[in-house]
């Protein structure tokens, strides 16, 4: 009894700390488990999604503390299938039941094509559940796939930070992944990402004191600083250089043309 009360207290406590921050997107079920998927916005969008997961026993109705979660998102296109860049799923520090990871969806689902998410649970016994998920297009283009103009390899670049850009010097991070195969996306560690923030609605003016990103091997992302001098739509024009410093995609912004590789965001 004492244990039950204790765990109840824990659940309510967990609810307090996270309920405000995250919203449930959907549940994925089989006969034994309910897998609850959460994000901050309550939906899946193109680009970077930080996804929180809790697993409940269907029969016990209790959250499960020690369970190993693996995931595999897959786009069901008309002619082919492919996955996307993603992290592994890890326990959230300081939380009992909550685990998290990220998935970077390159595209939204539509009536003809959709994403499936396969969750593999392992608590000594392995369970595989696959269900369709709804990935909506984000308001701003925050992910891009591009081809290395030299080697022909395919890459995905996504804006990870800032998720809520403000008029300030923002922490900036990009994820850059090589599409090794349809299912495998490897973090790229030794490239150079150059960005040039512009405001297309204000004759493409730039912003001062930006710091170009550099690779951080702790989280596998490229970190820099982004200055946004006013609210509104900003365009991050990108140039990607390979390990030897050759431009593999993107071009410098000129009076007449922006980079063909870019991401968008809105400062609020």
């Amino acid at each position: 009894m004492a244990i039950a009360i204790f765990s109840l207290a824990l659940i309510s406590c967990e609810k307090e700390t996270n309920e405000n921050k995250i919203k449930k997107v959907q549940e994925i079920n089989d006969d034994n488990y309910i897998v609850e998927l959460y994000t901050e916005t309550g939906k899946f969008q193109t680009g970077y999604n930080e996804i929180f997961i809790k697993v409940k026993g269907k029969n016990t109705d209790n959250y499960i503390e020690n369970i190993n979660i693996n995931w595999y998102p897959e786009m069901q296109m008309m002619d082919k299938k492919h996955s996307c860049p993603r992290s592994s799923v890890e326990k959230v520090a300081g939380e009992t039941f909550l685990q998290k990871g990220y998935i970077i969806f390159q595209m939204a689902g539509n009536t003809m094509e959709h994403w499936n998410l396969t969750i593999t649970l392992n608590d000594g016994e392995q369970t595989v559940i696959t269900e369709q998920i709804n990935v909506q297009a984000a308001t701003y283009k925050n992910v891009a796939t591009f081809k290395d103009t030299i080697s022909g390899k395919k890459y995905v670049i996504a804006l990870i930070q800032p998720q809520k850009p403000t008029v300030a010097t923002n922490d900036l991070s990009f994820g850059l992944f090589e599409m090794e195969s349809m299912s495998n996306f490897l973090p790229v560690t030794n490239f150079t990402i150059l960005f040039d923030p512009r405001m297309p609605s204000m004759e493409n003016h730039s912003s001062p004191n930006n710091t170009q990103p550099s690779y951080n091997n702790v989280d596998g992302l490229y970190h820099g600083k982004l200055s946004l001098t006013m609210t509104g739509e900003w365009k991050l024009n990108l140039i990607i250089k390979n390990a030897v410093g050759d431009i593999i995609q993107g071009n410098a912004v000129s009076e007449t043309e922006d980079s063909n590789l870019y991401l968008m965001l809105e400062a609020k």
Partner: protein, 683 residues
């Protein structure tokens, strides 16, 4: 606010204690101002009144010590000693008030009207520091002072029209005086269309409409104490700024104060005036009437000031002393919203003044010592505490893009000292002095965020790390006067350290569409500015008065680079014919070619010019009323010209015929006399 009330009560109680002593004495006249511009319509000196319904700007323009930056037909910005707003201390009766426009479209002088004022005191350099820190000088707008003499009704009606711009000005003033109280109210309305420059070139967007009203109340508590309250409401709408990319749809000020005045409190204190005040300004820029703008913007600004000012004049033996306590708190905020051409896109917004709170507390002491009959010395000291605080977090974060380590708050001490000597013998007077003064950077200079200057086409960024600007000043004046001739020469030299000016930073790219680059406010090691002038007056016969005025200025930095807005050699000359109630004047105004100009700061050469003006007047004085007629033609030859301080060389008014009628009446039980005669104790 509670604190201010407390301080006021404290002062009032203190005053009432002192008021027990009832020894009377008369206040000696303190004449150390460089110039007094008389505005009062009741002035006896008709000759000084070239138009009874002139705008305040036109009066300022007549002053030899002041030049004006013109951005159109309205709200000209005064310059003293080649220095503008941020280097000047501009007050209304010692009350601090700050414009709410980031682009200096609303100098303080634009929020009052001639009808609110009796005179303007112009002080050069540190002589203007008694009301607060300054470098270039001070401009104190003195409101009409009322008294309890001449019980009864009095008032005035004014009407003026001008051919160029179709300017119509009307004013009404009504006053009731009782031996124990007075009430006075006035209202002025001015409306102008676009004016035509010389050669009949229409200057579009030069129109304006202005309403101004003020109410004054006063109660005489006893023989020595009176309390008065005053409120000015000034509202300008539809103001065009042809030299700028934007106009102003609204510039509105409310200026209020309560004042306690005491006279002849004891042997020492001759006058003690304490006021608490409040003023608030709303300024709205508008580009909706312009035919094509790259992007539509809203740029409103607000400025609110609370303050306390206490001034005491005292007399002891050979000393004439004045003490001044000044405290104010100002909030300046301005924002900019840009509307993308694609209506689907979100609005673009920034704070151009991120809610800056400025607190200032300062004291100053001035003493004039009559050493002997011919020798006078004077000295002054002032010290102040100045604090800026960025109250808006959004704005602070924006500024941190440029200054990552900046703090929200910045404190400074500001000091000033002055010493002067006057020698006076028969026809000759010499005065000379040295002074040191400091000023804090203005809100724009310290915290401005992408302020576009349409003169040099740069975006300006404030710099919160600026040091105080320090000025070392010396001046010399010589006057020679015999019965029909007077000559005066004066020179003021400024050596200014850490002179604040925008410096191009090639690292930054501009925000404003069409801007050349970004200038960051920074300090030049030092600059030298010299202002000199010569004025001559000769009256060959009683009916004929001639005058001539010449001025020359110099302004360069330590690397001999020209500073912007330095007045070229300028002159004006006039001949006045006075007979009985009629006066006629022919005057020439002009300037040489501007040989040295600052290309760096957007200046281009201003050609030489000279224009011819004619002024005439007739005055009819009867015991109960006075009728004054003024008429004339300005720029008779319809010359197309602009001066060095006309923003982007916006041309000045072409030929202009004007006429104005002023009627003043007085219904009192006593004998009629000039009201100004009763103001002796004020001036």
């Amino acid at each position: 606010m509670k604190k201010i009330i407390f301080i006021l009560l404290f002062f009032l109680s203190f005053i009432s204690l002192l008021a027990q002593d009832d020894i009377t004495d008369s206040i000696p006249e303190i004449k150390e101002l460089d110039e007094v511009i008389v505005l009062s319509k009741t002035s006896k000196n008709v000759g000084k009144q070239f138009k009874t319904m002139s705008t305040l700007d036109e009066y300022l323009e007549k002053s030899s010590k002041i030049t004006l930056i013109r951005r159109g037909g309205y709200a000209w910005e005064p310059l003293i000693n080649n220095m503008s707003s941020e280097r000047l201390n501009i007050t209304i009766d010692g009350m601090h008030i700050f414009g709410a426009c980031t682009d200096k479209m609303d100098p303080v002088t634009s929020y009052v009207d001639v009808s609110n004022l009796s005179e303007i005191n112009v002080s050069s350099g540190q002589s203007g520091a008694s009301n607060g820190p300054t470098v270039g000088g001070g401009l104190n707008l003195i409101r009409t002072q009322h008294d309890f003499c001449n019980p009864g009704w009095s008032g005035a009606l004014d009407f003026g029209i001008e051919s160029n711009s179709g300017l119509v000005s009307t004013g009404i003033n009504l006053k009731y005086t009782h031996s124990k109280f007075f009430i006075d109210a006035d209202f002025t309305y001015r409306n102008a269309d676009n004016y035509k420059a010389g050669k009949n070139v229409l200057v579009k967007f030069s129109q304006f409409t202005k309403y101004n009203t003020s109410v004054n109340l006063g109660v005489k508590v006893n023989e020595k104490n009176s309390i008065s309250a005053s409120y000015i409401f000034d509202n300008a709408i539809n103001v065009g700024y042809p030299a700028l990319p934007m106009d102003v749809s609204l510039a509105r000020a409310s200026i209020a104060n309560i004042q306690h005045s005491a006279f002849d409190l004891n042997n020492f204190i001759k006058e003690w005036e304490t006021k608490v005040y409040f003023n608030t300004i709303q300024h709205v820029m508008d580009d909706t009437k312009r035919p094509s703008v790259p992007i539509h913007m809203d740029m409103p600004g607000w400025s609110t000031t609370y303050g306390l000012n206490s001034r005491m004049e005292a007399l002891k033996n050979k000393h004439k002393m004045s003490f001044n306590l000044n405290a104010y708190h100002n909030q300046s905020k301005a924002e900019m919203t840009m509307y993308p051409n694609n209506k689907e896109e979100p609005l673009m917004f920034m704070y151009t003044w991120p809610d800056i709170r400025t607190t200032y507390v300062g004291i100053s002491v001035k003493d004039r010592v009559q050493l002997t009959e011919n020798h006078n010395i004077q000295y002054a000291l002032s010290a102040g505490y100045h604090q800026n605080y960025v109250a808006n977090e959004f704005g602070l974060n924006s500024l941190k893009i440029f200054y990552p380590n900046m703090q929200a708050s910045k404190k400074r001490g500001l000091y000033s000292t002055q010493i002067g000597y006057t020698f006076n013998k028969r026809n000759f007077e010499l005065n000379t002095g040295f002074a040191y003064g400091e000023r804090a950077p203005s809100v724009s200079e310290a915290y401005g965020f992408y302020l576009f200057n349409s003169f040099d086409k740069y975006d300006y960024i404030g710099n919160p790390n600026l040091k105080n600007e320090q000025s070392i000043e010396s001046n010399l004046g010589l006057t020679y006067k015999i019965s029909r001739f007077k000559a005066n020469v004066s020179a003021t030299y400024f050596h200014i350290l850490d002179y604040i000016i925008g410096k191009h930073n090639p690292k930054y790219t501009p925000m404003t569409i069409g801007a050349t680059g970004v200038r960051e406010y920074s300090a030049l090691k030092s600059v030298n500015i010299l202002s000199t002038d010569l004025s001559l007056e000769y009256r060959p016969i009683n009916a004929l008065k001639t005058r001539a005025f010449f001025s020359y200025s110099y302004g360069k930095d330590h690397q001999k680079q020209q500073l912007p807005l330095i007045r070229p050699f300028s002159f004006n000359m006039g001949i006045t014919y006075l007979i009985k109630s009629v006066d006629l004047e022919l005057a020439i105004d002009g300037a040489s070619k501007q040989y040295t100009y600052s290309k760096q700061y957007g200046e281009s050469e201003t050609p030489a010019f000279a224009i011819l003006n004619f002024y005439g007047g007739y005055v009819l004085e009867k015991p109960n009323y006075k009728l004054q007629l003024r008429f004339g033609v300005e720029n008779i030859l319809n010359t197309y010209y602009s001066t060095y301080s006309d923003w982007n060389h916006i041309p000045r008014k072409g030929r202009n015929f004007f006429i104005s009628i002023s009627y003043q009446f007085k219904k009192s039980k006593k004998e009629i006399s000039e009201p100004e005669d009763h103001l002796g104790h004020i001036h």
